[in-house]
Symmetry: D2
Subunit: 317 residues, 4 copies
């Protein structure tokens, strides 16, 4: 039995037909439109092409950025797509397929975490936490070998763990959320702060952003850090510190055996993970009297979310 | 089959023989000695008396304050009993019973949480969090109807969730832990702060503590709050606020359907729970776009921990 | 003897000839160019017109946004005008006047504070602090009846008083500065946060900003607050709270007898000042055992800075 | 003309007769009683002995821990001596001397700061801040060569500058005051925290305090730090960090040219001052675009407060 996995990203919609061993048989990729109806049309198109190749696709898993209700069919809210407020995404797609395909919707960080658990660095773990350090900070929790969604589908909103009382204003309307201090956005913030305070050390970064600190992007900081630039390493040291502190907070609740760190920002490897590991130990409760979770980079690659979505949908069906 | 539940508290050791329906058949209570060996002797004595009455006690569950290893037999650390560092408590007691009784050790907050789940306010919940507001702040997590211990036995250390960066010094060696802001200790702190800053409003509390603010105890603040004293209500408002904030942080990880609030401090009821509920909503991520967990006071009574320990041990056996 | 006061604002350059009693005799206003040379030309033009009317202008006081060196002649840094790094502004203008006019440069918040001290709410005070709540938060300190500049011209940078450890990222490169929590920018932040968290209460504000929360401006929040809108009042309550906390911090250093609050945001009057006064008392050290400073709105009007600059220059000369 | 300087310390009352060049001519020292009347008797006794030797003592300056009213005669509050609430100390002593001696009362940190200014590291400074790192954190401010007391006698309460929102509970009833993070008390806190979290590194400190971390005293941490002990150096690093941060906050208000660091804790010298200097630069607003104040240890010795009190009284008279 084949399953279609769909990943609705900020810039592209990707789709893949997977077999029961999570092997990808065929794959598609189209730009993401902004209107929900057009998004649905894109998904239908991929579904139809998949049908043509594989004749029967009884199940579809969709990975979407935003809050998914516990029914795993409805988007309650999305920061990216304004009209996804209480939006019955699974209903719409099932209608478009004439109810020939059962649809399961899952939060994108959950899909990435599950993909990593079944295919990547998470294999063999029992209780695992995945943190996806992208523009923001996504989270997924595996408990006793199963994706944990919480009672209302809102578990693992780890980017919004409150880390600083009266801290940085977050787009969610709260202050001091973890993702304000450890994310691609935070990396840019720390780098800009550094340039403003230590202009003599900011030369390489200013060069990379053409002299205007406001146009500085995370990938420039990554490049400079890999070249050994001191200020870029400082910025990674700071988001690494807060990544460690955030993991220590999570451990006080979940006590996992493994943290997997994914997302674009982790491409620098130990430049991020070393300060994260150091500060995890520094801020972990009773650190001297307990076993410590492993902290590993993600290994399942960019398709993990799409494959994870397909796998989760097949298990559900 | 009967099980002996033992609760090693700061001032008393309590024991109860329970049947398979968690009904208490007989009960004992002795003062807690300070030396581990004497504690073991007390437990043996209760065991022997239990044997005399019920002839066969194949299983014993022990509730103990401190960190219990994942083997559920060893105390790795206890703030109360200095010699419980890597202490094989289950081994010791099993030896004393000539290996006729299998012993399971569990953290006291976990036992109280489990007792509440099977007998009290937690019945019917799927994912529940219990917070025990005593001298400190204890936590227990039930996931999918089972006590969740984490990979190394250290889950639900919710009193040490970091709430304030560079916050109040905690006895654990970290700063800003939740229990510094919501606990009996915190209640005394806030009340003392209030008296120092608003001496004209502190009259009733000063009366209750004989004029010396350093001797003020939590139960005096409870009494004054129940009389309607403004300053005492302020102090409860503050620990209630932080209880709400702590629950909101936990919800970002666990998304439970229920919080049960136990411990001596909750005896004032809505004086504590109203500000907790208000601030839970105020600090909950995406509060306007999600379902909210219930927040209820514990109802299973002071023996819940002892019975919970017995029940957990029987299930383990 | 007449003195020319110049106020280089973000949008306009204003000039006024004042007599020795700070009476304005004539006045000019032109748009602010972006280039330093063009700014200098504008100032020269105003100076020449002033000369034509009043024949002798031996002294000029310039109010400028940015850091002025202790020599009161050089701009060391300005957030608005990029080329003002170690820029000898007084030298340049004196050259343009053929050294017929002595120029004194002063920070704009200092000029506004001094204007308020000699003409407005500050009259009769001995030790006064002025806080200008505009886009950011400016400060001025009067000690023993004289403007206090500090040893290096950097006193009264009150908008950058650190209020929150690891707090909101500030444009200055630090975190948690007072102006991140009490300023026009902060007002917008708190209003946006409120709309995101309490969408049902955000209707009026969303109406005023045409539905896009990112285009919300401070003056819309002021308008809604004056209409009694709950969410707008909440936002003013928050910046008022932090204004009070900031004043309490300043009082721990300076212990003034008066705070004067100016800037565009204070146009709402007690909507801002009531929560500021309440929280000043709440956070003031030893509040119950001391006299308290008065907290008054500014009264000297929009020309106070320009007149203050002229007055300071005349005293200096 | 001779002046008597009196320093009422926590454990001893010291007195000295000084000439007009602040030279000490004779000196006394007695244990501090707890009752205000007995304190007064001790002072009278010293005064009488001073009279016997020097025949005429028209002026007395008293250095006292606590808040002194702007009249410089009345104690409004003292953390040490409970009955000093609105206590007319100068009146009492003048009565006891049959009004033959005029008494001026001054806060002890102010006296120490003034002593340092006239005799020690502060000579030649124009705007100086002294921080006395003892059990708590005292402050004194010199502006334009004069001791600055503020409008109500409450200036320079620098130990209560708010550094952390919702921070450590302070004895003053507020939270997050500077002295909770940089003082002898804070040194003990950080050392104890370190021992709890890194027991393997705590050996030397545990040895010094006889194995009970609760009996650890600041002077033990100083000794261990001077021996090179890693954990003790960590604790000094932390209070040094916060000393630097506190000075940076003060600089945003006062912009002094000099900070003088006194008190028992500074006896370790650069072990404290190096991290203080480093973090002062790290947290100073616009650090790259301004001149920086010097940071020096106090040099005037333990009698500076007593001599400072005498000098201030003579100037007043």
């Amino acid at each position: 039995m084949y399953t279609l996995g769909i990943d609705i990203g900020g810039t592209k919609i990707a789709g893949a037909v997977c077999d029961e061993n999570d092997k990808v048989l065929s794959q598609w990729r189209v730009p993401t439109p902004t209107d929900p109806d057009e998004i649905n049309d894109c998904i239908l198109e991929i579904y139809n092409e998949a049908l043509r190749l594989h004749s029967d696709i009884p199940t579809m898993g969709i990975s979407a950025a935003g809050n998914v209700k516990a029914d795993r069919r409805t988007m309650s809210f999305s920061a990216n797509i304004a009209k996804w407020i209480d939006y019955p995404l699974a209903d719409r797609i099932e209608e478009l397929t004439d109810h020939k395909c059962k649809v399961v919707v899952e939060n994108d960080a959950n899909c990435a975490g599950w993909g990593e658990y079944i295919l990547g660095a998470g294999r063999g773990s029992r209780n695992m936490v995945m943190l996806t350090v992208g523009t923001g900070l996504g989270g997924a929790i595996i408990i006793n070998g199963e994706l944990y969604r919480g009672s209302f589908g809102m578990a693992a909103e780890l980017g919004h763990l409150p880390m600083v009382s009266d801290g940085d204003f977050c787009g969610c309307g709260l202050r001091g959320c973890a993702e304000r201090y450890t994310s691609g956005n935070a990396l840019e913030h720390f780098a800009r702060s550094g340039i403003r305070r230590m202009p003599q050390k900011g030369k390489r970064l200013l060069e990379l952003c053409g002299g205007d600190v406001n146009t500085l992007e995370g990938k420039m900081v990554s490049q400079a850090a890999q070249e050994g630039d001191e200020l870029a390493l400082y910025a990674f040291g700071k988001i690494g510190e807060w990544l460690g502190r955030t993991m220590a907070a999570i451990a006080a609740v979940i006590d996992p055996d493994l943290f997997v760190i994914g997302g674009g920002v982790v491409s620098v490897g130990d430049i991020l993970l070393d300060p994260a590991r150091y500060n995890y130990t520094r801020f972990l409760q009773a650190a001297a009297y307990r076993e410590h979770a492993k902290i590993l980079p993600a290994t399942a690659g960019g398709d993990a979310g799409m494959i994870g979505a397909a796998d989760l949908a097949r298990r559900e069906a």
